[in-house]
């Protein structure tokens, strides 16, 4: 008896219906949702780290305007609920953008719901990353930065080669937490109809009426996704470990 046969039997004999393991249609919907969640998470993780790095740099910029923009961004996105941010982008902001002609000759929005989810969550997690990187940067002694300057590094050069590498080592644990949070936050994309994991699961359970089974599948899947991310982050932390520094 293979896996599909087992779950088919489990449903017939006991009414425990994990349809995604034996019904190819449900399985494909679920895998598509899983793929969307993974893609959304990976893109947002990378974009939010980039935003964090740029934002933390901007917070220490010479120009007061640049500093104010960075500070305003952090305040807005840290102090409002991510679901409200997402709704704001999708329902309030997106309607101001022009539409484009799609391949069927109809009108399609310039940015898809997936696109808005990427933008919204990247900005949300990025705001926290700015603060996280900043705390790391503040832990780099001023005298170390001065030593870099005395060697002829520009401010940007010192940031890139000295300050950031040291800061990242200090703030990896906090970054780790925030990125785990980000992966969990991607479920909010459900609210604007992005076909991610939760959306796919809800579609399946509303048709197959296996809410309890799908809920369990969802929990296990997210635990696995987060475990994967944490393992990757731990590996990164080990790679960055320097003898006699930190810890």
């Amino acid at each position: 008896m293979d896996v599909a046969q087992f779950f088919s039997w489990l449903n017939d004999a006991h009414g425990i219906n994990f349809s995604i393991f034996y019904d190819p249609f449900d399985r494909d919907r679920f895998l598509a949702g899983l793929w969307t969640t993974v893609a959304l998470s990976v893109i947002c993780i990378l974009a939010s780290i980039a935003l964090g790095i740029v934002g933390a740099w901007a917070q220490g910029a010479k120009s007061a305007v640049v500093r104010a923009v960075a500070q305003g961004y952090v305040q807005v996105f840290r102090n409002t609920p991510p679901l409200v941010q997402l709704a704001f982008f999708y329902f309030a902001f997106a309607t101001l953008l022009p539409t484009v002609r799609d391949s069927f000759g109809g009108q399609a929005p310039l940015i898809s719901s997936f696109g808005w989810a990427v933008i919204s969550f990247s900005l949300f997690a990025g705001a926290f990353n700015v603060e996280i990187f900043r705390s790391g940067i503040e832990a780099v002694p001023q005298s170390t930065i001065e030593a870099a300057e005395a060697l002829g590094y520009t401010r940007l050069g010192a940031y890139r080669h000295v300050i950031l590498p040291l800061a990242i080592r200090v703030c990896l644990p906090a970054l780790n937490n925030n990125l785990v949070n980000l992966v969990k936050t991607t479920t909010l994309a459900y609210a604007i109809g992005v076909p991610e994991l939760l959306y796919a699961a809800a579609q399946i359970w509303s048709e197959v009426l296996n809410v309890r089974e799908m809920m369990n599948v969802l929990l296990v899947t997210y635990i696995a996704l987060v475990a994967l991310l944490v393992a990757a982050m731990n590996k990164w932390e080990r790679m960055m470990r320097v003898p006699g520094f930190g810890q």
């Binding site: 002694p141 005298s143 170390t144 001065e146 030593a147 870099a148 300057e149 005395a150 060697l151 002829g152 590094y153 520009t154 050069g157 080669h161 000295v162 590498p165 040291l166 080592r169 960055m240 320097v242 003898p243 006699g244 520094f245």
Partner: protein, 250 residues
Amino acid sequence: MTTGHHIGRPIVVIEGVEKAFGAVTVLRDINMTVSTGETVCIIGPSGSGKSTLLRCINALAPVTKGSITVDGQQVNDPKLDKLALRRKVGMVFQQYNLFAHKTALQNVMMAPIHVLGQQRAEVEERARRLLAKVRLTGKENSYPGELSGGQQQRVAIARSLAMNPSVMLFDEVTAALDPETKKEVLVTIRELAGEGMTCILVTHEMGFAREVADHVYFTDGGLIVEDGPPADLLCAPRHERTRAFLDQVL
């Protein structure tokens, strides 16, 4: 006793320099000329502005008044080419300030590669030679956290030398070290001075100052109280304040 090497043309010229942090004046009317190959020591009580003066020389701190030139380059020019200045001036700090995420060898190699864009292979060869010169052969792949204070300070000296500076500034580089490791660092600096490197040292090591300095300045309260050859200033100071300071440290 001086090192007896050739002393050439003026390279660091400080004229009427004043430095204030807000309302607090830290340096007042500093005048000093250092010539190539010369070793100059600055001594004086803590808080008298010695570090600030060194920081003004390589533009880490802007002067409030007066002028500093290094090899003809005006340091207080608003359009100062900082890179050009810092190529000429190396600086070593009390707290070593090595880059903790890089090995000793990488610390020495970083600036020539990142700042000067030199070829890695050629920089590495020079870096290994410099580490050998400061007696750290075998420590190339150690991280700063794995080295003693004296070893770290010698890496810091090699790191500065990798930029081929014309002038080296040393800011109390042995103050954080225990007597044993102090010696290793002082030996390195003495060799450097002996080879004709222009050195400006802030130090509390009076014996060392007497041995290596061509000229000694005593500062107090942001002023140069007196200056002269070490034999005169350290053994027969003219000013009461100098005498009081020397009595205290010797």
